[in-house]
């Protein structure tokens, strides 16, 4: 009885799909010949090799040794969402509101991703980073972003 290694199965499949996708996209560019290669030649070759490698990983998934210790996969939605939203907040608020709100929001939202952080702790950390940002990045390094929504960029 052989077990199937799920990670290799998914990973191999992912690489196979990515390789085929990249190769297909690359084949829309000019391929050229070996003597005079077009922009499509190299990515096409890489995509084909990637798909091949993906196929081999996929095959190796069926040859996994039995009873290999497998780490339990636990989703950590709260942490993930807070980190990603925090980062996105920087990009959005940096453009529409200014450097200080963006900094505060990023640190505050990301800090809430950890279950042990209270709103108070998150606020204090965010405020401290905002202060550092003001001194180091705006005053010293002169980052070209408006400081606050109403200040001139």
């Amino acid at each position: 009885m052989r077990s199937v290694e799920l990670k290799d199965l998914l990973g191999g499949l992912l690489m196979l799909v990515l390789g085929i996708g990249m190769a297909t996209q690359a084949s829309h560019y000019e391929i050229g010949s070996l003597r005079r290669m077009g922009p499509g030649f190299f990515p096409l070759a890489l995509g084909v090799i990637l798909a091949g490698t993906g196929g081999l990983i996929l095959l190796s998934a069926f040859r996994a040794p039995l009873a290999a210790a497998r780490a339990q996969f636990r989703p950590e939605w709260r942490g993930w969402i807070c980190i990603l939203v925090g980062l996105a907040a920087f990009a959005l608020l940096g453009r529409h509101a200014g450097l200080l709100p963006a900094t505060f929001a990023t640190v505050f939202i990301a800090a809430l991703g950890d279950r042990q952080n209270s709103i108070l702790v998150a606020s204090i950390t965010a405020a401290a980073m905002t202060l550092i940002c003001l001194i180091v990045f705006w005053w010293q390094l002169k980052v070209p972003l408006p400081l606050l929504p109403w200040s001139e960029g």
């Binding site: 922009p39 190299f42 993930w80 980190i83 980062l87 940096g94 998150a122 980052v143």
Partner: protein
């Protein structure tokens, strides 16, 4: 030639001790040391976060600072491994095996002391190798044309893909992914927009810093959030404890020499990662030991050898990066990226055209290593306290530094989105057991590989035999074939896994 090298080195010292250069070198070493101590942060994240700071600096202080961060963070990484059994810095994970038992036995000071001695010794050997080997390599490298450059990069990429931990197939896949990401942007030869998804911000290609910070910063946070336990530090360190006993010194001396040799050898081979180097140094010591059962229970050899290997490799790694323009590992890829940003093309002409930069870098290695010893001894108490900074405060602050740092690379908020995407991609790949370090190597080398491949075949009128007709190139191709053959043979025998896996 030797006298030439020594007199160049002497003038390098003159440049390196100029106050501004000395200051940035010190700053890099200090920050690197600090970030290296912090759990969950490594040399890669430290360098990518501070890379934007170098845009305003002159090339020499910029590169001195980045190099300082690199080896500074390595000194820091060992501290967490020995005192708290924290394997957050992969190259130092193996140091935990014997370093932490030594701490439990109350010999933490001796372990740290021997780490610093081995590190300093190994770094010095690495620097000496660099001084004498680089000019020799340059003399050879001047004769490299496109076929030779393509073949040596192929060898480096293959070594990077197959010598990292885990399945070699997955390493190859990651290298290819990195190269494909490197393709994105405007084609250098005839201006076609490739893989830009119609987004004009991607016309210049993907930002190196965004890729590095996404894969090694954000992806790490996504993996670690709510999973790193708060640590308590029970140990009080005193200066007096840091001196190992004479018996311990004698015990550690030969392992230190052997570790240095392993690190030097692997540093010279392009593509081999730092983690595998330390594991091999450790495995070698255990193989040679009269009482291998002592390992894992506080054998000082198990601390001295891997730490020495890691530091000599760090220094020797700079040789191919600076003299051939071919980075040996992801950190070197970043440093290469920093040089390119400064409009300095690494390669054989670097040592002649930017002699002041090259030799002051070599000189600053020594200065930096002395500074690190001076710093680490009195500051060890502070570093120990820093280890207790909870991760729950650390990662939100680091996320801000990532966001603002990457913004500064282009003064454009679009790159923050790039970080976000690469963070998610990196986390998925890590969850599927893919090694992500080869991605960065592939990304940096990819465009150079394509360029040299196209040029070589243009010159040979499409004849692929050009890669084996040139003798130097044929040598690299033969080595690549040998590498693949050996990997296939080992994996068929099932021994490949045992070789690279950490000993229990």
């Amino acid at each position: 030639m030797i006298w030439q090298a020594l007199s160049d080195l002497w003038s390098g010292f003159h440049v390196a001790v100029q106050p501004a250069n000395l200051f940035w070198s010190f700053f890099g070493v200090l920050i690197g040391n600090l970030i290296g101590v912090l759990p969950g942060m490594g040399a890669l994240s430290a360098i990518s976060m501070l890379l934007p700071l170098t845009y305003t600096l002159h090339p020499i202080p910029a590169i001195l600072m980045l190099a300082g961060i690199f080896y500074g963070s390595q000194y820091g990484g060992a501290i967490g491994a020995i005192l708290l059994n924290l394997p957050c810095h992969p190259p130092h994970a193996v140091t935990c095996l014997d370093g932490y038992p030594m701490t439990l036995q109350g010999r933490a000071g001796a372990a740290l002391g021997i780490t610093m001695m081995s590190s300093f010794f190994a770094a010095s050997v690495g620097i000496i190798v660099m001084i004498f080997a680089s000019p020799l390599l340059v003399a050879v490298a001047f004769r490299f044309g496109p076929p030779e450059l393509f073949s040596i990069m192929l060898l480096g990429l293959l070594a990077g893909a197959t010598m990292s931990r885990g399945s070699p197939l997955k390493g190859v896949a990651m290298t290819l992914i990195g190269m494909l990401i490197g393709v994105a942007g405007t084609d250098a030869i005839n201006g076609t927009q490739r893989f830009t998804l119609g987004i004009t911000n991607l016309d210049d290609g993907v930002e190196l810093v965004a890729l590095a910070l996404g894969m090694f910063g954000v992806a790490e946070f996504l993996r670690n959030v709510n999973r790193i336990e708060a640590v308590t530090v029970p140990i009080k360190m005193r200066l007096r404890d840091m001196r190992p006993s004479r018996a311990e010194m004698r015990q550690a001396f030969l392992p230190m020499l052997r570790g240095t040799a392993v690190g030097t050898l692997f540093g010279a081979m392009p593509g081999t990662g730092p983690t595998i180097t330390t594991f091999i140094a450790y495995a070698l010591e255990r193989r040679l030991a009269k009482h291998p059962e002592r390992f894992g229970h506080g054998a000082i050899e198990g601390v001295a050898a891997p730490e020495a290997a890691s530091h000599s490799k760090t220094q020797v790694d700079f040789i191919p990066t600076m003299s051939l323009g071919i980075p040996g590992d992801p950190v070197m890829a970043l440093i290469l990226g920093a040089l390119l940003i400064q409009n300095i093309q690494p390669g054989p002409q670097l040592i002649t055209e930017h002699a002041d930069l090259f030799w002051s870098l070599v000189a600053s290695f020594w200065i930096g290593n002395v500074l690190l010893i001076l710093l680490n001894v009195p500051l060890i108490g502070i570093w120990v306290k820093l280890l207790a900074v909870p991760y729950r405060l650390l990662f939100p602050s680091a996320l801000f530094f990532i966001a603002i740092g990457v913004f500064c690379t282009k003064n454009d908020l679009f790159v923050v989105w790039e970080v976000l995407v690469f963070g998610i991609v990196g986390a998925i790949l890590v969850a599927l057991d893919f090694p992500i370090a080869p991605i960065l190597l592939g990304f940096v080398l990819g465009p150079m590989v394509e360029d040299n491949f196209r040029r070589a075949l243009l010159l040979s009128r499409g004849d692929l035999a050009v890669f084996v007709q040139h003798p130097i190139s044929a040598g690299f191709i033969a080595a690549s074939t040998l590498l693949i053959g050996a990997r296939i043979y080992l994996s068929l025998r099932g021994a490949g896994q045992r070789l690279v896996r950490p000993p229990p």
